[in-house]
């Protein structure tokens, strides 16, 4: 493997719209997702696995009787902690399933049923008779129990930060905004439920575990599973040619992936298919913690911040810690000499929370951006002005210069497009028929991240084309398409000359499709491999020569704080009879570096706005603390935005190229669309009605007198 110092790309295809290279497969349904592979892919006569879940939140499996299940026609086996293949303890109790009788949350996997058909497996699972020794549980997040201080917050940030003297500054402030903001539990709910096909084979005397998994990172699945099963990484092959969305929930392997591998281990080579049901996803595949944000802003009368405090309370699971970095954007967003942030957790007997699109930024910026709106109101100034007034010269957290902070330009461009100048300054000023009408704005930000551990391979083909390979995954982002464009430009050929292979651990390693880092990380590796390939083999290489390379670190980049920025503008209408909220206009203007493919990028940004709108108006997982599980566990009771909810929606971006960050000039766009969007909608509903709602979602009942 070679490290290559990368040069900025001479762009030709990059920057232009290219129809998705896998579009035909998607619109016809020919694209094969994780449990849709057949004999051609080695999946022959598979068994079906169904998960049996605990019905208590904490305790022990006292007795598990499989007899009725085993006598059901088609059922082949029942696997529980007494007969499951042994796993090695890697310290991840979410994954260490069926190794003992302990129950740590309601919905935990306590047995697996294998059967010849999905129908038999499901009925078999219903027939497994489990009784429990029940222990008292705690499953409710409250301000009085979220007191535990984690060592760090996701991924490895400081738990608390403090600069200056916040208390003194607040005491001296002319204006103080001091409120509690709440966001609910939210579930990622990609349309393709989590699913895995797995089988074990003998490969020249070595066991090999093969999987098709619905994952955001095939290599990450190997890193999780290989040590659990005592295997070398080479003994696990994971493929994910098509993945039906993830939004963070497929960023790491969850228990069902281990369940599939365990089940397959017992079948003497016969493949198994495990499709998690929509209901099971609410317990087993991650979710966003609820958050309680206590925001205190101190300012001078003109809205200049003198103090920012963001104290976060949220929850984690007692069996595995995940601490959402909710206050992290508050650390860098606005200037103020005195600043303090903190995170405290309740360790509950609940399912393991995890990543959901813009972890940290999404709930944190809801709180902060509604608070900024309240500051504008308190000071009697425009919400744009309060943001202008507190624009920092350098990153307040690190003291480094921003690579390219164009927040104000985003705000100004959006204001122009939204006709902000004609906005009545006060709330409850506009009625149109049955509707109170208002507009609101919020800032958005997301860090620009590039992950280590990526490399790519370039090989010349017989026909003058090039095979380019990297193990990254396209979860719907358009990665397959934009990486083709990047490879084409890096090799100075047409996109049609690129034969791109992705989503297989036999290919060079790639980091997870998460943190808006995919294109930056993988694209940089492809550019490195292509530039090295040309250096090694010239413009007219012999067929069959190849180069594998990764990008050398760029020390010059370390002097900057890399972030993307944006501004979200919303119009909200609140029905003055019913309280119903509709959002007829939603606009995001972004500074995200160079946009590699405007067509797919636009879809990404609009999709983020839709998810932010959805979180703003609808999404809430209701955990019943008596039982410990989420009871709104399907798509009828957990509402995500439907087509009728998404009206005039638009996204645009500033022309720019961030070539300090990546050779493509891009920074990443997957997450920023969801950031600030719920706040913009909430601020618009305040402007419409004069009713300030500080907790999501903004449902009709909040606006009824």
């Amino acid at each position: 493997m070679t490290e290559q110092v990368v040069r900025p790309l001479a762009v030709r295809s990059v920057g232009r719209s290219l129809e998705r290279v896998d579009g035909h497969e998607k619109v016809t349904g020919a694209a094969a997702y994780a449990v849709e592979h057949g004999e051609a892919d080695g999946v022959i006569d598979p068994l079906h696995v169904w998960l049996v879940q605990s019905t208590v939140a904490r305790g022990r499996v006292a007795r598990l009787r499989p007899e009725a299940a085993l006598s059901h026609p088609g059922v082949v086996a029942v696997i529980d902690h007494s007969n499951a293949p042994r796993l090695r303890d890697t310290g991840n109790r979410e994954l260490l399933i069926l190794q003992d009788d302990a129950v740590g949350f309601r919905g935990q996997v306590v047995a697996l049923v294998l059967a010849e058909s999905a129908e038999s497996a499901r009925e078999g699972a219903a027939l497994v008779d489990v009784s429990y020794e029940v222990e008292p549980h705690e499953a409710e997040l409250r301000e009085d129990n979220a007191t535990y201080k984690p060592d760090s917050v996701n991924p490895d940030m400081d738990t608390d930060t403090e600069d200056g003297d916040v208390d003194a500054a607040l005491a001296a402030a002319e204006v103080v905004v001091d409120h509690v903001y709440r966001t609910p539990y939210e579930h990622n709910n990609p349309l393709e439920p989590h699913a895995t096909t797995a089988w074990w084979e003998d490969d020249a005397g070595r066991e090999v575990l093969s999987m098709f998994d619905s994952t955001q990172g095939v290599h990450g699945v190997v890193e999780s599973l290989a040590p659990l099963f005592g295997l070398e990484a080479e003994q696990v092959r994971v493929r994910a040619p098509y993945v039906g969305g993830g939004f963070g929930s497929k960023g790491e392997a969850h228990a069902h992936v281990v369940a599939a591998a365990l089940a397959a281990r017992t079948t003497k080579g016969r493949p198994v298919k495990l499709a998690v049901t929509r209901q099971q996803m609410f317990a087993l595949t991650g979710y966003r913690t609820a958050t309680i944000s206590h925001l205190r802003l101190g300012a001078t009368a003109d809205g200049t911040l003198t103090a920012i405090e963001h104290a976060v309370q949220e929850q984690t699971s007692a069996i595995r810690e995940y601490a959402e970095q909710t206050a992290s954007p508050t650390r860098m967003m606005y200037a103020a000499p005195n600043r303090r942030t903190s995170h405290r957790l309740a360790r509950l007997d609940v399912a393991v929370p995890s990543w959901m699109r813009a972890p940290g930024e999404m709930p944190g910026m809801f709180a902060h951006e509604v608070a900024m709106d309240e500051l504008a109101v308190a000071c009697g100034i425009d919400p744009l002005e309060v943001r202008e007034r507190n624009e920092p010269d350098v990153d307040p957290e690190t003291g480094r210069p921003f690579n390219n902070r164009r927040l104000l330009e985003c705000l100004h461009r959006g204001a122009e497009r939204f006709d902000w100048a004609s906005r009545p300054p006060g709330p409850r000023a506009t009625v149109d028929g049955d509707w109170w009408v208002g507009t609101g704005v919020a800032s958005a930000t997301y860090p620009a991240m590039k992950m280590p551990g990526n490399s790519a391979r370039v090989r010349s083909l017989d026909d003058g084309r090039y095979a380019v390979a990297i193990g990254s995954v396209d979860i719907g982002t358009g990665a397959r398409t934009v990486l083709t464009q990047i490879a084409a430009d890096a090799l100075d050929v047409e996109p049609g000359d690129i034969d791109l292979a992705i989503a297989d651990t036999r290919l060079p390693p790639a980091s997870v499709a998460g943190g808006s880092s995919g294109t930056s990380s993988w694209g940089t590796a492809i550019v490195a491999a292509a530039q090295r390939f040309r250096a090694d083999h010239g413009p007219s290489p012999d067929p069959g020569v190849e180069t594998t390379a990764s990008a050398a670190d760029d020390p010059a980049a370390e002097q900057y704080a890399f972030h993307s920025f944006g501004a979200v503008f919303a119009e909200a209408r609140v029905n003055r009879w019913t309280g119903e909220v509709r959002v007829p206009r939603l606009l995001g203007v972004y500074s995200v570096g160079r946009v590699v493919n405007p067509m797919t990028a636009r879809s990404q940004l609009l999709g983020g706005l839709v998810m932010g709108l959805s979180a703003g108006l609808f999404e809430e997982s209701h955990r019943d603390p008596r039982f410990g599980h989420v009871v709104t566990q399907d798509l009828a009771t957990y509402h995500v935005a439907a087509h009728a909810d998404v009206l005039d929606l638009d996204a645009e971006w500033l022309e720019e190229a961030d070539e300090v960050f990546t050779p493509m000039g891009s920074r990443g766009i997957g997450e920023i669309g969801i950031v600030g969007t719920a706040a913009a909608v909430a601020n618009a509903t305040f402007h419409a009605t004069g009713v300030r709602v500080r907790s999501l979602p903004l449902t009709a009942d909040r606006f009824l007198a």
Partner: protein
Amino acid sequence: MDAHISLTVDGTERSLDVDTRTTLLDALRERLAVTSPKKGCDHGQCGSCTVLLDGRRHLTCLTLAVAHDGAEVVTAAGLADDGLHPVQQAFLDHDGYQCGYCTPGQVCSAVGMLDEAKQGHPSHVTDDLVGDVDLDDDEIRERMSGNLCRCGAYPGILAAIREAATA
């Protein structure tokens, strides 16, 4: 308990034994390896499993296969004899999808919906119930609301259907 049924799937006659419990969706996916219809929720709450069943858009997850012996099923894979259906081409042109998982259902739903509109069926947002249907954006959005897209590709889906409706 098993039953023997025949289906015409994307123009091909198929006969198969199904468990009486088997949904049409599972019959297609697991017995016939027709995986164009997707399983997003299995409870009629997302629309990913939509096909045209005897010419109308239909959720295969809430349908027992045994109750549809002799039915004609058209999935997104069989909408066009050759190449793509105009609705599918419009989805490509307007990037009306991202991950692609809801897409075959969206496409089938759109084809069925356009036919319903052509027949003059009103919708929840039709102001004048007895008048003609003007398939404007709000009408398309409402009529397509049984197909959830978590990627949020609705603007592209709308543009695609608008174009296909006027083509």
